[in-house]
Symmetry: C2
Subunit: 122 residues, 2 copies
């Protein structure tokens, strides 16, 4: 379960253009955990696996991308798994499900006219 600070961290991570694009490409571009033979060979993104591969698609230095990936990882938006000397990157779909649920509930409660008592702490 994500608490308030987890959610703020997620939004902060997605509130930067470079990180948003990395996020977007990891999720919708189909970055896989390893070379994925089910994906067309000419789809470079489907074949992308690691920090260097991701960095190739951006006009920023590798350490910059590395730091952005760390921030996405710390926000639980992606997972990074070390295997041998490479880091395999995957979307963290559970976090996205939770966030989707939060906005769904927000809209539903608003339409139902649910009013919570004032609380600045959670």
């Amino acid at each position: 379960m994500l608490d308030m600070h987890d959610k703020i961290k997620i939004f902060k991570a997605l509130g930067n253009e470079t990180r948003f694009m990395i996020f977007k490409n990891i999720f919708t571009g189909g970055y896989a955990c390893s070379i994925d033979d089910t994906k067309p060979k000419d789809d470079i993104i489907a074949q992308a696996t690691c920090v260097t591969s991701i960095a190739e698609h951006f006009d920023f230095a590798l350490p910059t991308i590395s730091r952005h990936l760390k921030e996405l990882k710390d926000a639980k938006i992606i997972t990074m798994t070390k295997s041998k000397n490479k880091i395999y990157i995957k979307p963290n779909i559970e976090t996205m499900k939770e966030i989707a649920g939060c906005f769904k509930t927000l809209v539903e409660d608003y339409e139902k006219g649910v009013v919570y008592q004032y609380d600045n702490t959670k």
Copy 2:
């Protein structure tokens, strides 16, 4: 329809603790467009209407809250309507519906294994 930069602006706005709490209280605390007689009189938040009323709940100076509200408005998260010498603040539920839809689609497409072609521009 929200484009990529609209979304980034929304996440940036929500990625700050103070703004997140303002947002949260406006939405789930039931800030209304005017004094709302259907809400219990002792629920101060249900009665909150304007910049000053919101600012009272935070330990920051009024101009600071005013600037945060402007950022939430610019991100289309809230609406601010001037009437006489007060600004009436309301949640922008349409934006939340769109964001909810984005995350829903993201999760659904991921589970369906949909792979988009690489695109850094949208």
